[in-house]
Symmetry: C2
Subunit: 342 residues, 2 copies
């Protein structure tokens, strides 16, 4: 049995879901993978909860189900900062559940770099650092011989990088196409059914599918960010957001919308990268798909991704929960796969 | 760089495709994965080709493209048997490309066991040994601390076990449903379009989709064999073919066929395992799917599989080439993943 000490960064919706998930899955991790997962520290913007003794860790997990605030636990240290916490020698993995800032990656990008330098594995649902400095972070991980778990930042429970890096190993991927954002796909699905954009957006907001500010989703930036990370991981490139032509679903031209009427076609927001002669090109934009395309069938809040390969043909994955539990499950998967022996 | 010495068993369609693939992918394996893949021995039922020197190996790879018979290579040893070859200390992986005998697993089952005892990793497209004695073979691999690459025997280029064992690690799978046989799915797709069974089968034969004797495909046994291996791998069970209720596509009741008429429903041959209270049940048979089922859309010679999980929702993979190249690519993938360091 191996004990894994987790430094959890961020205790919002995803962080809380992750703690509850570890609570629920402790026996499975122990019995099936011989891993004892425990929290060493839990940080939010106001301070840190230190869980040194086993009894404290157990109590924290039990209390997480009832939703007790971090500040009310006995080990709470108000104002404690990330750099102080990192001095603790018993930490193995940084789990970053802070919100994605895809414009400058802050503040998570600094935490990520420092954690890698201290030889912690990093498992993250935060796209920011990977979008802003993929190449630098990958190199830092390699230099320090630690792993980067990026599933939580690349469509979470939908296995995008697993398929791209492991299931197609030995094949050449020439093209990747993905429906990578659940909110915009939901809105487009409703529009393909004849509903107006504004009504579909309101519906998505009212049902909790869209965030209060859905701009990153509907303007294509969330799709572009995931596409960027996937492309850099698959092709070992160092693209940044500036290299992507980004289009969202906010201004669908009427002639395009009309092309779906009465025909078997659907408009989808596709993130796409492909070899164009010598270069790799990236773009996020609207595409008119017909039923022969495997992503035509990915509707509602579902996501999906298709890899075009030379020796294995097309491989498409779809589904995977798009909520905090799905993100948490993707991070737990990455931790198990970092430590697994088989 | 690591040199991997392969013992190739079987030089039919899949074996030849595997050799050509290694020829084509040597640079990729070397540059991306630091693996030099070479053949130490190639065996068929008439003898063995020994490739001791590097120049011999290179020539064999080059000649494989032109289709030169094994017997015409300089290192050919007529009548040489598997047990003699296994004494060669420089072998690392057995790649088994012999035809599947799912009834008693012979002769491959003996070869598989002996290779594992000699601490060779085993990568296989042969379902026979895994269907007949999954538990024994898994134990033997574990005892000898070597890996079993089963992708070639579980729908090949379609990543079934990768998703089940790695991409859903930490989640509980409650149910697996798959379209696991391309020939029967092609015939059913044509029948769903209104063609009679006998005409669809003739069409499949004429276009080379169906084998001359397609009985294992159309009677459901190929689906059942793959389902069995996947189930035993996912749930760590020791089921055998006798535990599966097997139904094929040869006798579709007219009332069932009529239910697809004018409605949005399709008949599919589904291999399925699920928790039924306390027990895990396995069955292969006809199902009427509606468009809300992710496998509804898997048509023609395509395959697909859906995993129902607790924390990640449903995850479906579809596509993947169904031919000797696809099987070869799946085995190369397994070899890379056995030796990869990241």
């Amino acid at each position: 049995m191996k004990t894994i000490n987790i430094l959890l960064l961020g205790y919002g919706n995803v962080g809380k879901a992750f703690v509850r998930l570890i609570h629920d899955k402790q026996d499975l991790c122990l019995n099936r993978h011989r891993l004892l997962l425990r929290f060493g520290y839990v940080l939010n913007s106001r301070g840190a909860l230190r869980l040194s003794r086993e009894s404290e860790g157990k109590r924290f997990l039990a209390d997480s189900v009832s939703g007790l605030k971090l500040e009310l636990h006995p080990g709470w240290e108000s104002g404690k900062h990330f750099r102080d916490v990192l001095e603790c020698r018993e930490l193995d993995v940084l789990v970053d559940c802070t919100p994605s800032n895809i414009w400058d990656g802050e503040p998570a990008i600094g935490y990520t770099r420092r954690a890698l330098e201290r030889r912690l594995h990093v498992v993250t649902s935060n796209k920011g650092p990977l979008v802003v400095d993929f190449d630098g972070i990958r190199r830092k991980a390699a230099e320090n011989r630690v792993s980067l778990g990026m599933s939580g930042a690349t469509a979470a429970a939908l296995p995008t990088l697993d398929v791209a890096l492991r299931s197609t190993a030995g094949a050449e991927i020439s093209r990747v196409e993905g429906i990578l954002n659940g909110t915009s796909n939901y809105i487009l699905t409703r529009m393909n059914e004849g509903i107006k954009y504004s009504d579909a957006l309101r519906e998505a907001r009212e049902s909790g599918i869209a965030e209060p500010d859905p701009s990153k989703d509907v303007e294509g930036w969330d799709t572009a960010a995931k596409l960027l990370i996937i492309t850099n991981a698959v092709f070992e490139t160092a693209f940044t957001l500036e290299d992507i032509h980004v289009e969202g679903i906010t201004g669908i031209p009427l002639p395009l919308m009309k092309k779906t009427k009465g025909r078997e076609k659907k408009i989808k927001l596709i993130g796409r990268c492909f070899h164009d002669g010598e270069e790799i090109k990236l773009e996020t934009g609207l595409s008119l798909l017909d039923p022969s395309h495997p992503l035509y069938w990915v509707d509602g809040t579902q996501k999906g991704i298709t890899f075009f390969t030379d020796t294995m043909d097309m491989i498409t994955v779809s589904g995977g929960k798009s909520n905090p539990l799905g993100a948490a499950a993707a991070m737990l998967k990455d931790i198990i796969n970092i430590y697994r022996l088989d």
